[in-house]
């Protein structure tokens, strides 16, 4: 694909990230409650001087612009997102906190997305291709139901049935803390065992969405002239689908999946809470309930940038899939 395309994409991404950083600053200066009050909370015996001192320490005595903003930009660029106000990590660098939680979330949602995309696209493509067929009705019906179910509801259901009820899987966490493992496989097993339910929740939650997307996309494509051409060529249905319908149907789906990433995060949060999964989702709720603005800010930044990257990748993939946008 042409360098110009690549460059343009990268440029856009860069600009977006910058805007996010700015927005991040603005938003969090608008948040209710001044940091020093939150920091000091209802600490007894706090004198006015102390508050003044705290303000200075956090640079809150300086004007928002330019001083605070510049300081913010500078530190952000250096990856310094300030210190956590609380939520279980009081006083720790936000960056550390985020990094600590990033892994589990990536694991859970990376795997979940992959699973969902594979299953969803396959299911969607098939039922779209065999539109009106039995599997279309079953698959589509199922997809719709899954799509209609809030993640955490799904999670609660699975939790009640398979963890509390049947006791097949643990109810919380990513591993058995304090457990000493026979070997790496054993440890892997333990993690997989913990991962099973949350992963199922995420994958199921997304599968419906993706298969619906793919189905409609395929249905659209099948009505295109070039598909008729392919049929006229006397190609087998399978081949018509594989080499003509699918490649074209994938295009819009790729975009939509990328677009949806922003929303997927919403699911992340609730699923993680339901299973007490030590990821960014739990962190967010945690930060929210303990007014840990720096962390909330960090999460916002991290997730946004993550989505930007995801979109960038999607764009590049699109460029790879669709010759028309390469030039």
């Amino acid at each position: 694909m042409s360098l110009r395309y690549l460059a343009r994409r990268l440029m856009t991404a860069a600009i977006t990230v910058f805007l996010i950083v700015v927005l991040n600053f603005v938003l969090f200066r608008m948040m209710p409650g001044s940091p020093e009050r939150i920091l000091l909370g209802r600490t007894p015996n706090v004198s006015g001087e102390v508050i003044q001192a705290t303000r200075e320490r956090w640079g809150l005595d300086k004007p928002l612009f330019p001083d605070q903003f510049v300081a913010y930009l500078a530190s952000t660029v250096q990856g310094d997102l300030g210190f956590s106000f609380g939520g279980g990590s009081r006083g720790r660098p936000v960056t550390d906190v985020l990094l600590q939680r990033l892994g589990p979330t990536l694991l859970l949602f990376g795997l979940g997305e992959v699973l969902a995309i594979i299953l969803g696209l396959a299911l969607g493509a098939y039922s779209g291709w065999r539109r009106g067929g039995i599997l279309d009705h079953v698959g589509n019906g199922l997809s719709l139901v899954l799509y209609s179910t809030p993640y955490f509801l799904l999670g609660m259901g699975l939790l009640i049935v398979f963890a509390t009820g049947l006791g097949w899987f643990p109810t919380f966490g990513i591993s058995t803390v304090g457990q000493s493992y026979a070997g790496p496989l054993d440890q892997l097993g333990d993690m997989a065992w913990h991962l099973a339910l949350p992963l199922a929740t995420v994958a199921l939650g997304l599968v419906g969405q993706y298969s619906i997307l793919m189905r409609s996309s395929i249905v659209e494509t099948l009505s295109e002239d070039y598909v008729t051409t392919a049929r006229a060529k006397g190609l087998t249905e399978g081949r018509v689908l594989r080499s003509h319908a699918l490649p074209n149907a994938l295009l819009p789906t790729v975009t939509l999946i990328a677009i949806n990433l922003g929303y997927v995060v919403a699911g992340a949060i609730t699923v993680e809470v339901v299973f007490n999964w030590p990821g960014l989702g739990t962190l967010t709720v945690n930060a929210l309930s303990s007014r840990d603005y720096p962390v909330l800010q960090g999460v916002f930044l991290l997730l946004s940038v993550g989505v930007v990257l995801a979109n960038l990748i999607a764009d590049l993939m699109y460029g790879f899939l669709d010759p028309r946008v390469r030039t």
Partner: protein, 315 residues
């Protein structure tokens, strides 16, 4: 010419319009999926419209009469919550809240999305570029975290969450606004891309040649052909709105004084209903969410079948 096989331009541009005009509602109802969707929505709409007539006024801790977390009984068909309030009563009243939030949010989102999408796609040029930049920007923002933050901010701005507009507390309208702000862009982007492809179609050129005004083309040639997209998008948005609302309430940003489905689910969870096997606490709200979103999607698909000229051609 090739009408039945590959609907010619004429068919493309005229067919959906006429079909829309002339009782596609009848067509809709003829479709079982459409009928199913309509019925479900009708039921819930009824619940939403006159909850008081059906189950009396919203019960409060004070007016509650039932046992604590009582299972379903003759007196309380859906059991009671931890304050002895009838779940039936709560769920029905929650229907109103949730539906209103969902619909308002959907309206805002789709309206903005459709207009911006079509205009941006058709006008193109710098305007388009700018608009899509903005849209893209909103797209990458993690809706939910942004929603959390905005909720806090807007609430702080409008002050006490107890003032009401049209029987809906401000704190809930906040959620509507938040959903609108965070989800218009995807609608806009999707519709735009469709507009772009339509713009290239022969019949639009022809219309342009004939000298039709841009607004005319947009209304008469583009709009009819993106209606299905708009509908589909509205469906997704409504579902998304309900979901977002549910999720926001789930993490405690709802308003306990105006229970929505999400609020109820949250209450059920924080009361530990799942662990206590008090299924009657969360199943009604949960089922309602699923049913309504499901119904909306079915309806959307049915409409899609009817309004989408391509599909129409091949049916």
């Amino acid at each position: 010419m090739t009408a039945p096989t590959l609907p010619g331009p004429a068919a493309l541009s005229l067919q959906p319009v006429s079909r829309q005009r002339f009782g596609f509602l009848r067509e809709l109802l003829r479709r079982p999926s459409g009928l199913f969707g309509v019925i479900i929505l009708a039921i819930f709409t009824l619940l939403a419209l006159v909850p008081d007539l059906l189950v009396g006024p919203l019960q409060t801790a004070v007016t509650a009469t039932g046992p604590r977390l009582g299972p379903p009984s003759i007196e309380f068909p859906l059991g009671t919550d931890e304050l002895g309030r009838s779940i039936l009563n709560l769920t029905v009243h929650a229907t109103r809240i949730s539906m209103v939030i969902g619909l308002l949010a959907t309206f805002i989102t789709v309206a903005i999305g459709a207009v911006l999408g079509i205009v941006s796609g058709y006008v193109g040029g710098r305007f388009d570029a700018l608009l899509m930049r903005i849209a893209d920007f909103f797209l990458v923002l993690p809706t939910f975290v942004l929603a959390i933050i905005l909720t806090a901010i807007i609430r702080d701005a409008i002050g006490t969450g107890s003032r009401e507009i049209g029987g809906i507390r401000l704190s809930l309208l906040v959620i509507v606004v938040v959903i609108g702000i965070t989800s218009w862009s995807s609608a806009a982007r999707i519709i735009r891309s469709q507009t772009l492809s339509l713009k290239e179609r022969a019949f639009v050129d022809r219309a342009r040649v004939i000298g039709a005004s841009s607004s005319h083309i947009m209304r008469r040639h583009i709009l009819p052909n993106v209606v299905n997209l708009i509908v589909a998008n509205a469906v997704l948005t409504f579902a998304g709105a309900i979901l977002t609302e549910t999720t926001l309430s789930f993490v405690g940003l709802g308003d306990p004084f105006q229970p929505s489905w999400g609020q109820l689910l949250e209450a059920a969870r924080s009361t530990g209903a799942p662990g206590l096997g008090a299924w009657w606490y969360f199943v009604p709200a949960g089922a309602s969410v699923v049913l309504v979103v499901f119904a909306f999607t079915l309806l959307g698909n049915a409409l899609d079948d009817i309004l989408n000229p391509k599909l129409a051609g091949r049916r």
